[in-house]
């Protein structure tokens, strides 16, 4: 049995909490998010017969990456960078967060999530941008916390990446 800590990072309202909720039924109520700034859920995934307990740290989204959040990153085996496809600015926040995270805990696997795929028509981010990012070697997954599309894939992708790292 292996346990891994994973962080959900991204600007406010991009859908971090919604994605985790989609993925797992947790025990803590959302009120922790506003009080402590983090909520943790656990989900068991099996990858190539290897059981892994994922401890998902859902961190309160902030546009300004604050000191508070830094300590939460400690010990993470990987993280998600969640972007709201309908808000281009959230992609920039994601990059800033990625840089700061790497400064704090070093290079660990991460997956870039473009969420709210169900609102594709309103997206400000086009396919080309996303393709370019993949070509740069980033792992990119398009999801919809609303329909559930891509959610499982995103989590499995990151886990696999962590196990191989």
């Amino acid at each position: 049995m292996i346990k891994k800590k994973i962080c959900m990072l991204g600007a406010f309202a991009v859908g971090k909490t919604s994605l985790v909720k989609r993925f797992v039924k947790g025990i803590f109520s959302d009120k922790y998010l506003s009080s402590v700034g983090v909520k943790i859920d656990k989900k068991k995934v099996i990858i190539e017969q290897q059981e892994v307990d994922l401890l998902l740290w859902d961190i309160h989204g902030e546009d300004e990456f604050q000191k508070v959040q830094r300590s939460y990153l400690r010990g993470s085996s990987g993280y998600f960078l969640v972007v709201d496809g309908a808000r281009r600015a959230t992609l920039n926040t994601a990059f800033t967060l990625q840089k700061r995270t790497e400064e704090t805990i070093g290079k660990v696997p991460f997956v870039l999530i473009f969420n709210k795929w169900d609102l594709k028509d309103e997206w400000e981010i086009d396919d080309k941008t996303m393709d370019d990012l993949s070509k740069d070697g980033l792992m990119v997954v398009k999801t919809s916390a609303k329909s559930g599309q891509g959610v499982e894939e995103a989590f499995l992708t990151l886990t696999r990446e962590i196990l191989e790292a």
Binding site: M1, I2, K3, K4, K5, G26, I27, F28, Y32, V36, G37, V38, I40, D41, K42, V52, D53, L55, W57, K67, V68, R70, S71, Y72, R74, G75, S76, S77
Partner: protein, 580 residues
């Protein structure tokens, strides 16, 4: 080559001059270090001091020696169990005793507690609470009597917040330790970040409701204990020591931790040692039910004691009565298997001991008698016995005094004769006083005699034959005479009836005398014709002389012409007694 050689010799010489003395010392030192024997000797010189010095600084030596000592003990046990057991006995025995007595104490306490909580109002409340919450009653009791309980202990990997090992106390429902551990780490981080505490400064306690979380931080791991109630002061120290020890032993595993907690399985027991608890001592207060029980016991014992004393007194009285009872001699009283055995002598005429037992309200089944029959000389029994022996009739009262048997009342002559004979064979009787006994036969004979003497037969004037119509009188006369004869025979007497003939005063003296004799004679003839012997009778004619009547009227003249009777009884000689 030569120069070179020369140079080297010269150099050697120089060196010898410069560092000669030191060199020998170095050589000596070298030799000394190379000689294991000497080295051992040297180390042995300083080893104790070295250990003392280091031990005063930290626990490294103890920790380092631990495995060796453990191994040594194991080897010793393997080799000879007894040696170690003997060595440890003085330490172990009191410890074991202490443990056992504390277990017993706990059992008593829990019994007391159960009793108290089962029946008090508070207990009822807790039962309701148990029903309401669906928790077992025991758990509710524990919760309410709890001073503190370490419910959970987490060993948390400091960096990742992942749980390395986790233990839970019995009956404590725990959430997913991974989540709690992560959340705890997050909260800790949050607090440290929010209030600007330095990372080195550990957060020691969190308090939520009646639970607190005590935290000890080490370089690689955090040890957190979740405690319900008020934790004891030394609990933090226990956590600290446990954490230090874990760091010391598991430092490698801690540093290389990458999500796999299996290497930390062995420290489980170490964490379990931290799961301490203490309950309120209030339960020492004895439950009222215990008092009720005690009261009941005392009450029952009282009843039992009362019964016991009462029975004891009854028994004592009974035995006393038995001992003083005439005709009973108690020789032994034994008690065997709940039963009492009484043996002795008993006159068959004495009171029935079993009956007396009932009168004394004692259980007859519990007493077994063994009586040897005997004759008591107690006067009452003597008399009873004599009465029985003599077949004394109701009409006779006997009195026995100073060896003299006094008889009073009436009895048949036959009985008296028999009694006279029997009395001689009864021991203790010197004299039989029968003076006051009235013989029934004698009395009867008197009556018969009177009757006969009142009877008479009538005659007509100048006739010697009895007047007709007197058959009944004759029959009566015959019956009476028969009875008289038989009674006389029983009593050993001779009965003689004088037949007296009378005439009235008319006629001459001479004829009257003759007539009266003839009349008596005729009556005698009638009687002898009925079977009587002549010798029992005498006849006499008295003429008009008896009774003398001054003025004879016709009426009394008739009654004067008669025959009447006179009975004479005389004693027969003794040997002439005839048995019936």
């Amino acid at each position: 080559m030569n120069t070179k050689g020369h140079k080297s010799i010269a150099f050697g010489e120089l060196r010898r001059l410069l560092v000669g003395p030191e060199q020998t010392e170095i050589v000596q030192l070298k030799e000394r270090l190379a000689d294991p024997e000497l080295l051992v000797k040297d180390v042995s010189e300083v080893l104790p001091e070295a250990i003392i010095l280091r031990s005063s600084r930290d626990k490294k030596i103890a920790k380092a020696l631990e495995p060796t000592i453990e191994e040594a003990i194991r080897a010793s046990v393997k080799k000879d169990r007894r040696a170690l057991a003997d060595a440890l006995f003085p330490v172990m025995a009191p410890a074991i005793r202490k443990v056992i007595s504390s277990i017993i104490l706990k059992m008593i306490q829990s019994l007391n507690q159960a009793l108290e909580h089962s029946f008090s109002i508070q207990g009822l409340k807790w039962r309701l609470e148990a029903l309401r919450t669906g928790k077992p009653f025991g758990e509710i009791v524990l919760l309410h009597t709890l001073i503190y309980q370490v419910e959970q202990v987490f060993l948390i990997h400091r960096n990742t917040g992942l749980v390395l090992q986790h233990v839970t106390a019995r009956r404590v429902a725990a959430q997913d330790p991974d989540l709690v551990s992560s959340m705890l780490t997050a909260i800790q981080d949050f607090l440290q970040d929010s209030f600007g505490v330095e990372r080195g400064e550990p957060l020691e306690a969190l308090r939520i409701g009646d639970r607190s979380v005590l935290v000890e931080q080490g370089p690689q791991a955090t040890l957190a204990g979740v405690i319900r109630g008020t934790p004891p002061a030394d609990f933090q120290v226990i956590l600290r020591e446990t954490l230090d020890d874990i760091h010391l032993k598991q430092i490698g595993a801690l540093e290389s931790f990458d999500g796999d907690a299996t290497p930390f399985e062995p420290i489980r027991s170490q964490l379990e040692d931290c799961l301490q608890s203490q309950h309120k001592q209030k339960k020492r207060k004895t439950s009222p039910l215990l008092f009720i029980l005690l009261g009941a016991v005392v009450f029952l014992m009282g009843i039992w004691l009362f019964d016991f004393i009462r029975d004891y007194q009854r028994w004592a009285h009974y035995v006393e009565r038995l001992r003083t009872e005439p005709g009973i001699v108690v020789t032994t009283i034994e008690k065997r298997s709940g039963k009492k055995y009484i043996s002795g002598l008993r006159d068959p005429l004495a009171s029935e001991p079993a009956k007396m037992l009932k009168e004394a309200s004692l259980e007859p089944e519990k007493v077994i008698f063994n009586w040897e029959p005997y004759q008591s000389l107690y006067p009452k029994f003597q008399l009873t016995r004599i009465k029985g022996l003599l077949r004394t009739p109701e009409t006779i009262r006997l009195k026995f005094q100073d060896g003299i048997l006094h008889a009073d009342g009436s009895a048949s002559y036959q009985w008296i004769v028999e009694a006279r004979r029997l009395v001689k064979s009864i021991p203790g009787i010197t004299h039989f006083d029968e003076e006051k006994i009235i013989h029934i036969e004698l009395r009867d004979m008197e009556i018969i005699r009177e009757r006969i003497e009142k009877q008479f037969l009538l005659f007509r004037t100048n006739e010697a034959e009895i007047a007709p119509g007197q058959q009944n009188t004759i029959q009566d006369l015959v019956a009476n005479t028969k009875r008289l004869c038989s009674l006389a025979q029983v009593l050993g007497k001779n009965a003689r009836i004088e037949i007296v003939g009378h005439t009235d005063n008319t006629g001459s003296e001479e004829t009257n005398m003759k007539l009266s004799r003839e009349r008596a004679h005729n009556v005698l003839s009638i009687l002898t014709s009925k079977g009587f012997k002549e010798e029992n009778f005498t006849t006499v004619g008295v003429g008009p002389k008896e009774p003398l009547l001054e003025e004879a009227t016709e009426i009394n003249r008739e009654s004067i012409r008669r025959v009447d009777f006179k009975v004479t009884l005389t004693d027969k000689p003794k040997e002439g007694v005839v048995r019936p």
